[in-house]
Every structure is written in structure tokens, then in C-alpha cells.
């Protein structure tokens, strides 16, 4: 059984009698211990997908449809109090900004202990012992001292480790990390990513890593899901996708990344911007920026097709080929 099976996930918001659907038709699965990278530009719906899985969309007034099966249970059918038992205990979330996700007026140790006591029903002392163990596992130097400190006394890297400790402390089956290293330096980023890799291989935690950094995805993930303007446009094995990207958007995105030793003047850009949810174009949403656009791309939306090797892509280039072949 898959750890997570998302089918036809869509979220819609209604404001001023107008309905917008920032994400729609998102389907993918995750196995235990698997690392899935979710990539896309700002406004592609990466974070909203994560929020929908966490059951946090009611907070912002969104209506979720489709199904999110976690460990065999459709999370969308759970009541708010049932969901609360899943959230934090079985699915943990590591938010983007460690600077603002810790409470500045509580000691960081107490913030780790809080989740452990609530979800694992531990007493104060046991929770503290476990918290110190977690901090040691995450290679926080001098855990006893850090335990007593306030967030502002810690560096960005340390704060992010505390947030990770809160996330993994309850032994979740699925960890969703939303841009966990965006605010950090490359050297610290490398350390945190090594940590994630250890956690998934040793504890079998499934990790959904949301980022716009394709370098991070290439080094850490097993599978990749590429989102564009609220749609899943490509999904597949990491090596396959990076070696031979199928969707023109994935290819364009990979061409935008400078690397050491790159020849001057060869950096490609994707002209234009990601459309906003209020004015998604008809048909393929990438069509206005696509170099390979065909007439039918602007008429109707291409279905997701499964190619040999398990990769899935939503592009008319491939529906044509499969029909012909």
C-alpha cells in the first residue's frame, strides 16, 4: 500500500462571487521512505498542495476536492478533531522560514517538548530526555545549553534544526518540508540535506520536499513532481527526468540554472511570468511561454499520459506520439 495517494486534488476559493482554482487535477503517490521533490515557480501551487494534504486549507477559506489517501484513510473525510490527531503525529510539516515559525517568547527546548507531550502523551521528564536525544541526533552542539535558549540566540541553521526536531520528534510517517533551506547558506543547506537523507533511509520516513531549487532535488530526491500554474505537468524518476526531461517546461527550467564552467551567454531564460489563478489561459497553461506550442495547445488541456518507464507528462507532444504509436 502506498504511503500517500493523492488523486485529482483541487482547491478552490470563492471571493467576490468569483471562483478561482489555484490547483487542480493533481495526482501522485508516495511510498514509505521515498523522497518526492515538488518543484515549480512562485505561484505554481506547491505550498497550497502541501497545505491541502495537511488539512490546513480551511484556515485560508479554500474548498478541497479529490481524495488524499494517507495510510489507506482518505484524509478529506476526517473530522477536524480526527485530523488533528494525524497532523503533527503522523504527518509533520517543516515550514519555510525557521525565523518566524518558532515562538520568540518560549525556550526552544519547551517548543520541542510541547509536541512530544501532546502527541506521544509523555510526561515532562520523559519528553525532555527525548527532546535532548533528538537534538543530539540532529547534531546540535551542546544540546543541554541550546535547550534553555530562546530562538533569537540561535543561528539560522540551528533554528532550522530545532524546527526539524519538532517535526520528526513524534515519529511521523510522512514529513512535508516547504522550502526548508531557502533562508540558509549553501554550507548549512548541505548539512541539513544530509540529515534529511539519513532520516528517510534510517527511519523509513516519507519526505515531500517542496523547493524551487532543482539542485537540491537532484541530490536528495527519488521522484520529482513538476508543477506549473496549479497543474502537475511532469512526474517521474529523478534520474530519468533530469537526463531526459519530457515536458517543455521542465526542460526550460533546467536550462535556466547556471553551473560552474558554463559558457558565457548560454544561460536561457523562460520569458514572461507564471499566470495568476484569476487568469489562467485556456488549454495548456504553459502554452503562452512554450517554444513548441501547437494550435491545439491553446484550445484544450492535454491529459496526463503515462510513458514507458512510468514517467507521466501532460503535453500534446506526447499524446500525439502515443496515439500514433
Amino acid at each position: 500500500m502506498s504511503l500517500l495517494k493523492v488523486s485529482n486534488l483541487a482547491v478552490e476559493f470563492t471571493a467576490d462571487k468569483k471562483t478561482v482554482k489555484p490547483i487542480s487535477d493533481i495526482s501522485f503517490t508516495m511510498e514509505p521512505g521515498e523522497v518526492l521533490g515538488v518543484v515549480g515557480e512562485t505561484g505554481s501551487g506547491k505550498s497550497l498542495t502541501a497545505h491541502a494534504i495537511m488539512g490546513l486549507t480551511p484556515l485560508v477559506g479554500g474548498k478541497v476536492s479529490g481524495s488524499i489517501e494517507f495510510d489507506g484513510v482518505n484524509l478529506l473525510t476526517l473530522s477536524a478533531s480526527e485530523m488533528q490527531k494525524v497532523r503533527g503525529a503522523q504527518i509533520s510539516f517543516i515550514p519555510q522560514n525557521p525565523m518566524t515559525s518558532l515562538d520568540p517568547v518560549y525556550r526552544v527546548g519547551d517548543q520541542i517538548v510541547e509536541g512530544l507531550r501532546k502527541h506521544l502523551k509523555l510526561n515532562r521528564w520523559k519528553a525532555k530526555t527525548l527532546a535532548l536525544e533528538l537534538m543530539e541526533q540532529l547534531r546540535i552542539p551542546n544540546p543541554k545549553r541550546v535547550f534553555e535558549q530562546y530562538p533569537h540566540q540561535l543561528s539560522g541553521g540551528l533554528k532550522q534544526r530545532i524546527v526539524i526536531a519538532i517535526g520528526i520528534g513524534t515519529n511521523p510517517k510522512l514529513l512535508i518540508a516547504d522550502e526548508p533551506t531557502t533562508a540558509l547558506d549553501v554550507t548549512v543547506q548541505a548539512q541539513i540535506m544530509r540529515l534529511f537523507k539519513e532520516l528517510t533511509t534510517e527511519k523509513g520516513i516519507g519526505l515531500m520536499l517542496i523547493t524551487h531549487d532543482l539542485g537540491v532535488i537532484a541530490q536528495v530526491c527519488d521522484k520529482i513532481a513538476v508543477l506549473y500554474a496549479g497543474n502537475l505537468v511532469e512526474y517521474g524518476d529523478i534520474r530519468e527526468v533530469f537526463k531526459k526531461p519530457k515536458h517543455p517546461y521542465t526542460k526550460a527550467l533546467l536550462d535556466c540554472i547556471p553551473y560552474i564552467g558554463m559558457e558565457k551567454g548560454s544561460l536561457a531564460a523562460i520569458e514572461g511570468n507564471v499566470p495568476t489563478a484569476t487568469n489562467f489561459p485556456i488549454g495548456c497553461r504553459f502554452a503562452p511561454r512554450c517554444g513548441l506550442v501547437m494550435p491545439k495547445c491553446t484550445e484544450s488541456f492535454p491529459d496526463m499520459v503515462e510513458l514507458a518507464g512510468g514517467a507521466r507528462v501532460a503535453c500534446y507532444k506526447y499524446t500525439e506520439e502515443t496515439v500514433a504509436g
Binding site: T187, M193, P258, G261, M262
Partner: protein, 329 residues
């Protein structure tokens, strides 16, 4: 090539006060005896982790903060000795593009009004028609249309705002731009647009750039030479095409090895850099990087290395530089 900018022995330290009586509790040497040149027409990159003094350096050069000692010469004249009036005039030629395009523009001004403000302050382009013509030229230069001028900052995307900010910096036809992480807040696709735009503008307008970033891959692509900074010190100055292969300083090498490349499954050298940048209070007497360096030897803890020329035309501050060590083996 002539030097446009010469920085010599520049230092600044900040006093940190605390407690009830605001006593001095420490001194941070933010920039520690730094010297380098920027050649006419060059793109010079500055990289380093957060807190290494990259942005402080930019602010010192533009005299947004005052240096403790040293000199900053533009075309041979020491601008640190300029009077306020002379400096005001000088700033026409030296502009800065900031990291966060979201906080640069006044949210209550249209882009047009923000872009025409430099002309009002300098009392040039008096009539509205003149200003309109000039602002539209600026917008066109950065790939925006006159309609974008009528928008407020919140109506533009991050990339468009950054273009508008570049247009603002170019309003008074400067010779020299300091770009402080201009693409850090942008997506890679938009980052590529902005980088390509900057390359085009440099060609067309014959500009000189100081480009500050934490992204070594981007810097090595965009720049001609790269300054690597660590804790307020320059540890290496290296030609951009040698960054990947001929780094002399262990820190530069560590930064290169820590970049996540887009080749999945690529063999990476084991953790070359543990820990984080130490606190800038009371730096140790030896090399600033000694506490994290994989190649550290006793001498490194005793005396600080000075920046010296190396065989590849760059400079490094290291007792046991890597490329030389390889030769010795």
C-alpha cells in the same frame, strides 16, 4: 585595463553595547583590512556566507556607512575624503540595486513617479513631457512597457519589480553599479531573465559591476573575477573560469563542493565543511577559517595569512594553498 575602483586597507568595526549602562561588550570587525581593484568595464563578484561582510562592503563603498580606515578611490580620487556636496555629485555615477525588490519601491508611488524622482532631486528634465520620455526610455531599456509605469509596485511580479529597480538605478546614467543579491528573491527562470538583461545593459551602456551573491555557480557564470570573503576578510580573489578547477583557498573549494548540481547521483566529496561561521566577536589570532578548515595545521592558529599573488593571476590568503599543495605531492 585601467582600474575604475581601488579599495585599499579598508576596515570598519562596529561596537556592540549592552546592559543597563550600555557599556561596550564587544567589537565586531565587520570588514578587516580589505584591498582590491575593480577594472573599468569588469564584472567583479563577491561571494560568501551570510554575515561575512558582503553587504557592509557595498555600503562602505557608497559611503552609506563610514569606514574606520583605508581608502576607496574612484578613477584615482579618494571618495572617502569627499565633502557631502562632492559625494552627492559622485553618487550619480555610483548606484546600487538591492536584494529585495519588494521593499525598494515606495508602495504609494506609481513606478513612473519612483523613476522620475531622481530627475526631480537632481533638478534635471524639468517638464513632465521630458521626464515622461526619459522614463519610458528607461522602462524600454529593461524590457518593460510604458503601461508598467502606471502600475503600483504591488501590481508587478517579482521579476518586473526587479527590472523597475534596475531602471531606477540607471536613471542618472551611472558608470558603476553595485548589485546586492539582485536575484536572491526570484525564481530561477526569472533570475535568468534578469542576469541576461544585466549582461545586455553592461554591453550597451559600458557599465562596471560589483555583483554580490551567495550563489557561487551564478557568480562564476556572470562575473569576470570573484572575491571570496569569510568573516570580514578576503580569503581569495580568483578568475571566474578557474573557480571550479583551480581554487587555492580551502574555503573556496568547500563552497564549490557544497553546491548542489543538477546531476542526480553525482558522487560528492564527503562533508568538507562542518559547523557554521563562528561569531565575529574577538576573532582568533590566526587564520579566520582555521576552526572549520579540513587542512588546518598548527601555524594556522598562530599567525594570520596575508593576501598574496598566486601563479594563476589571482590572490589568496592561506599558508597552505591547495593548488600548490597538489604540485608538491
Amino acid at each position: 585595463m585601467e582600474n575604475y575602483l581601488e579599495v585599499k586597507n579598508l576596515s570598519v568595526s562596529f561596537t556592540v553595547r549592552g546592559g543597563l549602562l550600555l557599556r561596550t561588550i564587544g567589537v565586531v570587525k565587520a570588514i578587516n583590512n580589505i584591498s582590491f581593484n575593480v577594472k573599468q568595464g569588469e564584472i567583479l563578484g563577491v561571494v560568501g556566507e551570510s554575515g561575512c561582510g558582503k553587504s557592509t562592503l557595498a555600503r562602505l563603498i557608497l559611503r552609506l556607512i563610514d569606514a574606520n580606515s583605508g581608502s576607496v578611490s574612484v578613477k584615482g580620487k579618494d571618495i572617502l575624503k569627499f565633502s557631502n556636496k562632492e559625494m552627492k555629485h559622485q553618487r550619480r555615477d555610483m548606484q546600487m540595486v538591492f536584494q529585495d525588490p519588494y521593499s525598494v519601491m515606495d508602495p504609494r508611488y506609481t513606478i513612473f513617479r519612483s523613476l522620475s524622482e531622481p530627475f526631480q532631486i537632481r533638478k534635471i528634465k524639468h517638464t513632465r513631457a521630458e521626464r515622461e520620455k526619459k522614463v519610458n526610455e528607461l522602462l524600454a531599456m529593461v524590457g518593460l512597457s510604458p503601461e508598467h509605469g502606471l502600475a503600483y509596485p504591488h501590481e508587478l511580479s517579482g521579476g518586473q519589480k526587479q527590472r523597475a529597480d534596475i531602471a531606477r538605478s540607471l536613471a542618472l546614467s551611472p558608470e558603476f553599479l553595485i548589485l546586492d543579491e539582485p536575484t536572491a528573491a526570484l525564481d530561477v527562470s526569472v533570475q535568468a531573465q534578469v542576469i541576461n538583461l544585466l549582461m545586455k545593459l553592461r554591453e550597451e551602456l559600458d557599465l562596471t559591476f560589483l555583483f554580490i551573491s551567495h550563489d557561487l555557480a551564478l557568480v562564476s557564470y556572470f562575473c569576470d573575477r570573484v572575491i571570496v570573503m569569510y568573516l570580514g576578510n578576503i580569503v581569495e580573489i580568483i578568475s571566474a573560469d578557474k573557480v571550479g578547477t583551480h581554487a587555492y583557498h580551502p574555503y573556496t573549494k568547500a563552497l564549490v563542493d557544497n553546491i548542489f548540481t543538477i546531476t542526480p547521483g553525482e558522487e560528492k566529496p564527503e562533508a568538507v565543511l562542518e559547523g557554521e561561521v563562528p561569531s565575529p566577536f574577538d576573532l582568533p589570532p590566526g587564520c579566520v577559517f582555521a576552526s572549520r578548515c579540513a587542512y588546518v595545521k598548527p601555524l594556522c592558529h598562530e599567525t594570520a595569512p596575508v593576501l598574496e599573488d598566486n601563479d594563476d593571476g589571482g590572490q589568496m590568503a592561506c599558508h597552505y594553498p591547495l593548488s600548490n599543495a597538489k604540485l608538491a605531492n
